[in-house]
């Protein structure tokens, strides 16, 4: 039973830790993508952002 309790606690902590890491990855990913987009955008223009059409996969 103590082993089950150990797996229970480790499991919940592990999933939250994993998802917290994913959260940080998403945040970092957005930051890096934003920087790259800003560098690629011509001076004076805002960084490109996905349009609804692009998000739907339409040209």
């Amino acid at each position: 039973m103590s082993e089950a309790l150990s797996v229970f606690v480790t499991g919940i902590v592990g999933v939250f830790a994993g998802m917290a890491l994913l959260y940080l990855t998403v945040k970092l990913n957005a930051f890096v993508a934003g920087k790259i987009d800003a560098r690629r955008a011509p001076a004076g223009e805002p960084a490109p952002e996905a349009t609804d059409a692009q998000e739907d996969g339409r040209p």
């Binding site: 039973m1 082993e3 089950a4 309790l5 797996v7 229970f8 480790t10 499991g11 919940i12 592990g14 999933v15 939250f16 830790a17 994993g18 998802m19 917290a20 890491l21 994913l22 959260y23 990855t25 998403v26 945040k27 970092l28 990913n29 957005a30 890096v32 993508a33 934003g34 790259i36 987009d37 960084a47 490109p48 952002e49 996905a50 692009q54 998000e55 996969g57």
Partner: protein, 372 residues
């Protein structure tokens, strides 16, 4: 001639039928009926039901180790861990992670919804199941069929049929199981909360995400590499927009083909001798507990986040943290629109919904890390 007829009669299946097989036929016909007449997860329950019927036809030897056709599907497809990752490839090609990327804090709702997995794991073990069996039952709460099959085939293959049928049955019953829990844990005022619109992730961001997520999740839980890598590869196909043929093949032909080769052998593992035991009923009951607790954990965490967050979350979307995509997100939208017709929750609910898929994979990876 008489001897020949005598021999034919004794080598036919009729004289080898058992009561247990007839009971399994009834179960097979019920699943086939639900799939066809009620459209309950028909893509899986139909081949599973037919697989059950085939496994309970005497002397057919379809599941004879080393010889039977369905055994070969089972051995090379599931035991060799080929089919569940291929299903994930197709799912990745169908999944849009933008709702999650637009509002990253919703990721935690996908984590909370794994609470039912671990609560049920503990309860199942307390009820007398081994740790491996308890993990295979608990993962049903993640509402992710391929992950349930993947984990169960590794930890407790003797429970594969029951766990898979329970997982897909409860996924089909999302519109019935989740609403009472969601309504019971929220007030009308909470159900009408309108959420702030998230930002639009750029194209570069959605292309980089599957690469980054693969690295992070595989580093964290290496045993989940097969599932998460295929999920993210499929998503990279989709978002890169340069391999249209591969994307379409993953979404359609490949996914459809492997679905057939997944359902049939899973059903065929359910023969009367292994299935008709009190344990099977326990699996279905505990699976329901897992699913209900997962739903409740998601809703409760959303309420908890509202205590500390300026931008309020409609707690109903916490229920979408279970990874029944997109069914649970649709249910959230429906329950939300009952309280406020103009509150469009679907896209918000898709955030925790797709996060829940990753959360269930991590939960399975944690089990494999700790128990293997």
């Amino acid at each position: 001639m008489i001897d020949g007829l005598h021999s034919l009669l004794f080598q036919s299946g009729f004289l080898h039928m058992t009561l247990g097989m007839l009971v399994m036929w009834v179960i097979a016909f019920v699943l086939i009926y639900l799939a066809i007449a009620k459209e309950f997860e028909p893509l899986l329950l139909l081949p599973i039901g037919f697989g059950i019927l085939l496994a309970n036809l005497p002397l057919s030897d379809l599941m004879e180790p080393g010889q039977g056709l369905l055994w070969r599907f089972y051995h090379h497809g599931i035991q060799w861990e080929v089919i569940p990752p291929l299903i994930f490839l197709g799912l990745g090609a169908l999944t849009d992670f933008r709702p999650m990327l637009a509002n990253p804090r919703l990721i935690f709702l996908g984590a909370a919804a794994q609470g039912g997995v671990y609560v049920t794991f503990f309860v199942a073990h307390a009820a007398g199941m081994s740790l491996d069996q308890a993990a295979s039952i608990g993962i049903i709460g993640g509402a992710d069929g391929p992950t349930t099959i993947y984990l169960t085939s590794k930890l407790a293959p003797e429970l594969l049929g029951s766990a898979a049928v329970a997982a897909y049955s409860y996924m089909a019953l999302v519109p019935i199981i989740q609403p009472p829990i969601m309504k019971g844990l929220t007030t009308k005022a909470e159900r009408v909360i309108r959420m702030k619109k998230g930002r639009k992730p750029s194209n570069l961001e959605v292309i980089l995400f599957p690469l980054a997520a693969t690295i992070v999740v595989v580093l964290l839980v290496p045993p989940a590499a097969a599932l998460i890598s295929m999920l993210m590869l499929g998503n990279l196909f989709r978002e890169a927009k340069v391999v249209e043929r591969l994307t379409k093949a993953s979404q359609n032909e490949l996914l459809n083909i492997v679905t057939i080769f997944l359902g049939l052998p899973v059903g065929a593992t359910m023969n009367a001798d292994t299935f008709l035991r009190p344990q099977a009923i326990s699996i279905f009951l505990l699976g329901l507990v897992a699913f209900a607790v997962s739903t409740a954990c998601g809703v409760l965490l959303a309420k908890g986040m509202n205590l500390v967050s300026k931008d309020k979350i409609n707690p109903l979307i916490g229920a979408a943290g279970v990874s029944a995509v997109p069914m649970s997100a649709r249910v959230v939208h429906k329950v939300g629109s009952e309280a406020d017709k103009k509150n469009y929750l679907l896209m918000y609910a898709m955030g925790p919904n797709v996060a829940g898929v990753i959360g269930t994979v991590i939960a399975a990876g944690v089990f494999l890390t700790l128990l293997r």
